[in-house]
């Protein structure tokens, strides 16, 4: 048992770190002048901070067993809301930020209502709301890209530098610790993991699964609202960028579930995955100069991540803690089977099949 664990520590839990190191070494040797620079490091860190915050948003409902495909649309809407309120309605910066977060939370509450109240599969529900949100955004903007506010405070919100890093990276770190604390160290996290792992067992243990699903979606929406504000401050409002962030965020969450604490979605694995993917993409872009690398890399990574996570999970459960043979007697295989695996991925089995 312990010997096996010793081997796993290296290859299993931290394989992402090795791959990351490999990327850095390979691209570092390939184009040292472009890749191995502080500015590359800082720009990757800052650019990916928004995706990472989005992944953190996504992570919590995933832990609870619900997909939130509306994160991309929500973050987009939030950029528009916070900018329009400032430039067209004359709101102050802080009220407009709060409004954007509130709009995000509202979207989450709507998702929660559809998933928990109307009992629509979360995959479908959030796919639907994502589309609706995109429509709402077009109503708000009339299809025109709003102009960002030109105040210094607004730009400093994300671009202020601390030790060379833009402050948005600090926000990410704070949020990551907050999410990690909730998921790993509070009873709330325990309930979320239980609800995502086996909703019926959680229910019979007195966990109000619906309420937690609802809350996880509100969390996700609110965090998207905040990510939207940051994006608007960092890069200016955009009508379309959100959809492009959805996939890398999902890939990171799934890939992250194979890292650090394999078999469950977790904060540090997700962040590790974000930066491993980003480093790979950045390196390839610098080497090839091609823009399509981003999509290609993230798409392949998502599929590979989900396949790998499922494979690891099945292997993990197939390995008995100790086999005393009794369970086999009635002839049922000890393996809980693929439907359980889908649950372990915190994905409702139907949704994961469709995904």
């Amino acid at each position: 048992m312990t010997a096996r664990k010793g081997i796993n520590l290296g290859l299993d839990r931290f394989s992402g770190l090795y791959i990351w190191a490999l990327f850095i070494v390979v691209f570092g040797m390939w184009t040292p002048s472009l890749f191995l620079t502080q500015s590359t490091m800082h720009s990757v860190a800052a650019q990916q901070a928004i995706v990472a915050i989005l992944a953190l948003a996504l992570l919590v409902p995933m832990v609870c067993g619900a997909f939130d495909l509306s994160v991309g649309a929500t973050v987009n809407l939030a950029t528009v809301v916070t900018v329009v309120l400032q430039t067209e309605r004359g709101w102050g910066m802080w009220p407009s930020i709060i409004a954007a977060v509130a709009v995000g939370a509202l979207v989450g509450a709507l998702n929660g209502f559809i998933v928990v109240g109307l009992k629509v599969d979360s995959f479908i529900a959030t796919l639907g709301t994502a589309t609706v949100i995109t429509a709402v955004q077009t109503i708000v903007t009339g299809g025109l890209q709003p102009l960002p506010p030109a105040t210094e405070a607004w730009n400093n919100l994300t671009q202020h530098k601390i030790a060379g890093f833009q402050i948005v990276v600090l926000y990410l770190v704070v949020l990551a610790f907050l999410t990690w604390w909730v998921l790993d160290h509070t009873p709330a996290g325990r309930y979320l993991y239980a609800a995502g792992g086996n909703a019926e067992a959680a229910r019979l243990t007195g966990v109000p699964v619906g309420r937690w699903t609802w809350m996880s979606l509100i969390w996700s929406g609110a965090l998207c609202g905040f990510a939207g504000v940051l994006y608007a401050s960092l890069s200016g409002p955009s009508l379309t960028f959100g959809a492009a962030l959805l996939l890398p965020a999902f890939a990171a969450v799934f890939l992250g579930s194979t890292q650090i604490t394999p078999g469950r979605f977790n904060v540090w694995g997700t962040l590790l995955a974000i930066y491993v993917l980003a480093t790979g993409v950045k390196g390839l872009q610098l080497v090839t100069g091609e823009q399509w690398i981003n999509d290609m890399f993230n798409g392949v990574a998502l599929i590979a991540a989900v396949a790998f996570a499922g494979w690891r999970q099945r292997a993990r459960l197939r390995r008995p803690a100790m086999f005393d043979g009794a369970d086999v007697a009635p002839g049922s295989p000890t393996d809980p089977g693929p439907s359980n695996t889908a649950q372990e991925l915190a994905a409702p089995s139907g949704a994961s099949a469709r995904a």
Binding site: T186, A202, L204, G206, L317, A321, M322, A329, P330
Partner: protein, 525 residues
């Protein structure tokens, strides 16, 4: 193609031996589940196979269907030729067909599609084919005497007996490349309402008279007398009787089923015999639900009450209903004098009610979480001191329970729950609930799929918990278990409590007799 394999065999063939089983044994990890079984089935007969849970009859059927390979030395012959083991296709080729309790129909599809799904017939592109298929369905159904079923009806809309009929028709459908010799019915009536049972029995009789042999597995003795020509009874993996039904009484069969020697099982319960009558913990008054009628009983502190009954008697669902996992139509459930809401596990838990559901992987545990986390899930707040759950305390806690309950391996606190063996999983779940110090403990099939050692430990801890003042209700299909554990056993039948056994009357034999509904004939022995 038109040679319908299930068409009547020439009448001179009826009665010829079609299935010969000799010296069939099966053991799992040195544990003999089936011991040198011999059995003969003849064309045209309905042969009932009886046995309590764990008697080896499901193992036998799984060998026939090619799921299990028997121990070397056994032989299964169909119409004189050996059947290769461990291969479902070979089993079908030899002429075995199986109709399980779970019919395996696709409820949302039409009868005709269910019948020919996956067959050469399914490729129908034009109207002409569709018509032919439908006609084929009509013919096949008619052959089973099921003209009443329309091929275009959706399976979901059919009466339960007709759904079974469709499954039977599918098993015996014409155009199968391999002739049907033996049809095995595995508790086909367990979930059927009484009225439907008769319809199904008619169909089964018709199947037999077409010249195949029918092996009929059931828990319901009435049916044996109604339909079977011969009966074979298994107990603890051995055949204890195989004879014509004619001349047997119900009492004989029950005696074969349960045997005589069970008194050693009561050793455990003697320890709890001298107890004071505690305060009333659970009171159930006039409880009604989908599967229960006017159920009333009470459980006191320190008492272990058993719930017995055959499948479909209401035994399987009563605890979930009390706990509030499922809906109740009417009646009251009071815990310590206060009503427990239906449909709200949280409310029940707040009142000190713990519920161990029967299927631990599907409903009892989060297999992906660690043993420690599962153990703590009943009360994760215990080691929460802002700002975090004290993991080391939680680990100490879990380690102590592991030690107390003898969970193996003792240091695997952080292993995923799913990696433990069945017995250890169940011990962990029992520990999870005892840790919350419940006033009322509801256990559904607590030792299903659990090895003997873990079973004894589970029982021991239940007795301890009752000794410490908990009220315990155990629903089990295992009469030995109930006899070993309980102060009182409630026998369910048709959703009602039909008998209550107390004291010396609680024997596995009595439990079986009452559960099987033969109480009028033989109340005590």
């Amino acid at each position: 193609m038109t040679a319908l394999n299930a068409s009547p065999v020439p009448s001179e063939c009826l009665g010829e031996v079609v299935l010969e089983v000799t010296g069939l044994s099966k053991s799992f990890v040195g544990n003999a589940v089936l011991q040198s079984l011999n059995l003969e089935l003849r064309r045209g007969e309905v042969h009932a196979l009886l046995g309590e849970n764990g008697s080896g009859k499901s193992t036998f059927i799984k060998i026939l269907s090619g799921f299990h390979e028997p121990d070397p030395g056994g032989l299964v012959k169909i119409a004189g030729s050996d059947v290769p083991f461990g291969d479902a296709e070979e089993s079908e080729r030899s002429g075995f067909r199986f109709v399980h309790q779970d019919l395996g129909l696709i409820e949302s599809m039409k009868v005709v599609d269910n019948l020919y799904l996956n067959r050469e017939f399914s490729t129908r592109f034009g109207t002409l084919d569709l018509k032919a298929t439908r006609q084929r369905a009509r013919d096949d159904l008619a052959r089973m005497g099921l003209e009443r079923i329309s091929p275009d009806a959706t399976v979901r809309d059919l009466a339960p007996a007709d759904r079974s009929g469709v499954a039977i028709t599918r098993a015996l459908r014409a155009g199968s490349a391999h002739p049907v010799n033996v049809v095995v019915f595995d508790e086909p009536t367990a979930t059927l309402p009484d009225a439907d049972v008769q319809l199904l029995l008619q169909t089964i009789r018709r199947v037999a008279s077409s010249g195949v042999a029918v092996l009929y597995v059931t828990h319901r003795l009435d049916e044996v007398f109604e339909i079977a020509d011969n009966v074979t009874i298994l107990r603890n993996g051995r055949k204890v009787a195989s004879r014509p039904v004619l001349g047997l009484t119900r009492r004989d069969i029950v005696k074969f089923l349960v045997g005589d020697e069970f008194e050693e099982a009561r050793a455990e319960s003697d320890a709890i015999e001298e107890r004071e009558a505690g305060e009333a913990i659970l009171e159930v008054a006039g409880l009604g639900s989908e599967s229960h009628l006017d159920v009333s009983f009470g459980v006191r502190s320190g008492e272990i009450v058993g719930v017995a009954g055959i499948a479909g008697s209401g035994r399987e669902s009563i605890l979930g209903c009390l706990f509030g996992a499922t809906r109740r139509a009417h009646g009251d459930v009071l815990v310590k004098g206060r009503p427990v809401k239906a449909g709200s596990p949280g409310d029940s838990l707040a009142r000190g009610v713990a519920y161990l559901p029967p299927d631990r992987k599907a409903r009892g545990a989060v297999v992906s979480l660690s043993a420690r986390e599962n153990l703590a899930l009943g009360d994760p707040m215990r080691h929460w001191r802002f700002p975090r759950i004290r993991r080391s305390k939680e680990r100490d806690d879990a380690r102590a329970w592991f030690k107390e309950f003898g969970v193996r391996p003792p240091d695997a606190l952080e292993s995923a729950f799913g990696t433990f063996s069945g017995g250890n999983q169940q011990l962990i779940l029992l520990a999870k609930w005892l840790r919350t110090d419940p006033a009322l403990l509801l256990l559904d099939e607590p030792t299903q799929g659990v090895d003997v050692g873990a079973k004894a430990r589970l029982h021991h801890h239940l007795v301890d918990a009752a000794g410490a003042g908990a009220a315990v209700v155990v629903a089990s299909s295992d009469a030995d278990e109930l006899a070993a554990l309980c102060h009182r056993v409630l026998i369910f039948s048709g959703g009602r409590i039909v008998a209550t056994l107390e004291g010396a009357d609680i024997t596995p034999r009595n439990i079986s007799i009452h559960s099987l509904g033969s109480a009028t004939e033989d109340t005590n022995s």
